[in-house]
Symmetry: C2
Subunit: 445 residues, 2 copies
């Protein structure tokens, strides 16, 4: 993309309404625009990151054997009366009537609807296991929406629902989700720690939240210093191998890591003192096993091998897709702006032309641009008539992990400059080697 | 995908509520499930086609130089008061109040919001031309939703908005949209004819609708028999070349083609009688140039080269993404089921194992499956313990363009059977050649 043809409305001033750094930087980098309290437009740069995150979520869910579909944003109130949640849910649920006076709502979550789909089409244990998920806009009418996309009212969420015959099978689905989530967050460059959580209004016994450590997190967290060091890495996972999947879950949940809701001071104090960490975290996902709460209420039963019928065992598992943008920025920024991890960056690298209009420099930039595109990469080429300082400031603000700077002086020596946004370190090399380096960095990402 | 692990709830019976073939086949093929009047869940097969269509729409918009973003589904009533449409819009607009009693609506379209984004960030002619678009869920509270996704209430739409300094520039944007739409529909295997249309409630002078010919279409259409023969083909288009783009538009709009709204019997009768066609059509897109209607009302102005300020020239351009699934099926089916064009098929081919459980046949199917996946293709492998007849019926119903049938008899002769869904013709060939053939068919699609 050539910046002269893009729509990147960066702000020079710090917006007064933004209380936390991710909100401030998303506004300044031209990623979002508020349209109403807690409701945002995703401007082109923000939309690109949102799509990268969604794509990683899809890839890892499909890898785990989960099946995508898409449920609508609006739901009928009658469906929620079946589970009893229509009356139980508070004013966070946006309710209204359509032109025929039928009671409707904007879905805050989809347990009822997915159970309705299941009971309409599945009747035998032979069709299990089954996990269906979607990534869709939700609405929760927060009383005080704030922190930008971190606590918006209209938000984008992946929510998946597992259906199994037995509790044992359902716990394997739970474990599968835990592992697929660990991989999802790692691919985005995030350390998200699974922590035992309260089950809250959805109900259920087994539940973990995934928290990203950040000073601005809404939850207080207590954990063993060894926990953030755990990595899934690039190990192969066979999601059908129950023991292997369970072993990974054990590896990631045995050491102490809890939110303030489930914190147990006595257990915490058994950790060696130098490893006891207290911090704050941002919740970016949650997995639940809740058994037959919805299937019993809504009559979602399956036949068993011995011919009886039982309510299906369920779990629901969510990732806050739009919220992840905020969490990513909270965890990856400095005083100049955002620092995108390579897995989610909107453009793979920036190209800064130091002397726009100079024939040789323009030609070199064009050549570099085309060479990167030919490698399947998406560069952002700053081809505006602007001072070098302004171009660098924009690149730093929007946070592309790599920048290639091209100017007449370097070209005279046959070199361009490759700069890491994270370390600030620069290196002079030929354009060909710069392209090869960038290609290598993104291989497999 | 292995069918034994997929969620494909096909129906044996014709659903009573479906009045038209696309609605019936989408229900029978397990593509959609109705959740409320005119509100559908997109089951896995339907979701896959929806995403293929959305992907083609994105690719062709980006090729034309248009920039994707994403606006929210909910909007503030105040924004619509600025344009005067809040009161003008009828009961099709879904209106409600949030918990703080603020008036909101579910967006039926986005002219007001995009104008709001524009005026907040663009102030100079130097930042033009600019076309921003999104693909997002919309809601129109139809009094009688029907025909499945063809006239749903919650529907998925691509809507793009062009901003230009002069009318001449705006008409180039209009032409760019026409050409990009022609290419979009052609890639899906559709013949969509641009027809002069009434401007309706959005207002404006220049507007064309794109209609797919189908007996179930809601509009009566009158056209020269030569029009459906026009093809864009694989010609290269330089979207910056105004004359070239205008020439294509002229080629596609000079011959007579109109809906009943703009039909002119006298002009129609000038066509040689044997070329006068009367039929029905399904609207799948519309482009508008409407000038300064919204920019004047909402104060979206830009500076000009001579230092004055003028309201920006605008157009809006839409493609009915979810509706296209219905239109595609109306135009591509037979009495056995759907016949997907290769550009939008949910899976590239089916594999039917005639003797599941037979070691050699299972092995051959697995080998075929992996060979196709290695080529970047997505096969659907029917690995269920089912009669051959049932497997064929499912494949025919869901409409994959190609089927490879594998059985012990063929394998004894070193062959599998490759069958075209459209022609019904079969050919025996080795598994390797079958893979090569399928790969070739999808090269570049």
């Amino acid at each position: 993309m050539r910046l002269s043809r893009y729509f990147l409305p960066v702000l020079k001033e710090n917006p007064a309404e933004a209380q936390i750094v991710s909100h401030r930087l998303m506004l300044r980098a031209g990623m979002i625009k508020q349209q109403a309290a807690g409701i945002y437009s995703w401007l082109p740069l923000g939309f690109k990151v949102l799509k990268r995150i969604e794509q990683i979520v899809h890839e890892e869910q499909i890898r785990a054997g989960h099946i995508p579909l898409l449920m609508p944003t609006l739901q009928s109130a009658d469906l929620w009366r079946e589970s009893g949640r229509y009356d139980a849910y508070g004013p966070e649920m946006l309710r209204f009537k359509d032109r025929h006076d039928r009671e409707m709502l904007y879905g805050p979550t989809n347990e009822e609807m997915i159970t309705d789909i299941f009971r309409a089409h599945v009747s035998s244990y032979k069709e299990l296991p089954l996990t269906l998920y979607h990534v869709q806009w939700k609405f929760r009418d927060e009383v005080r929406p704030r922190f930008g996309v971190m606590r918006g009212r209209e938000f984008y969420m992946k929510d998946g629902y597992s259906f199994d015959l037995t509790k044992e099978d359902a716990l394997h689905a739970y474990n599968r989700h835990m592992v697929s989530y660990l991989r999802t967050y790692e691919r985005m460059g995030l350390t998200a720690i699974p922590m035992r959580a309260d089950s809250g209004p959805i109900g259920g016994d087994n539940t973990h939240e995934f928290l990203v450590l950040a000073q601005t997190g809404e939850s207080e967290v207590f954990y063993d210093a060894k926990v953030p060091e755990l990595k899934l890495g690039d190990r192969e996972v066979d999601y059908d191998d129950r023991a292997a999947v369970a072993a990974i879950c054990e590896e990631f949940t045995t050491l102490y890591a809890r939110t303030d809701e489930t914190h147990d001071e006595a257990v915490f104090n058994q950790i060696p003192e130098e490893r006891r960490c207290v911090g704050r975290g941002i919740e970016v996902g949650q997995i639940f096993y809740f058994g037959t709460k919805y299937s019993e209420a809504m009559g979602a039963t399956v036949s068993t091998p011995d011919g009886t019928r039982v309510p299906v065992e369920m779990g629901s598992h969510g990732i806050g897709v739009s919220r992840l943008l905020g969490a990513l920025i909270e965890a990856n920024h400095d005083d100049k702006g955002i620092i995108w991890p390579e897995g989610v960056t909107p453009f793979h690298c920036g190209i800064v032309n130091l002397k726009q209009g100079d024939a040789a420099t323009d030609l070199a930039c064009e050549g570099l641009y085309k060479a990167l595109v030919a490698k399947g990469l998406e560069p952002l080429y700053d081809d505006r008539e602007e001072r070098a300082g302004a171009k660098f400031a924009t690149m730093d603000l929007i946070g592309l992990p790599w920048r290639i700077t091209v100017g007449p002086r370097g070209l005279a020596n046959g070199v361009v400059e490759l700069t890491s946004r994270r370390t600030g370190e620069s290196e002079e090399l030929s354009a060909e080697i710069a392209v090869a380096r960038i290609t290598e960095i993104y291989a497999g990402k």
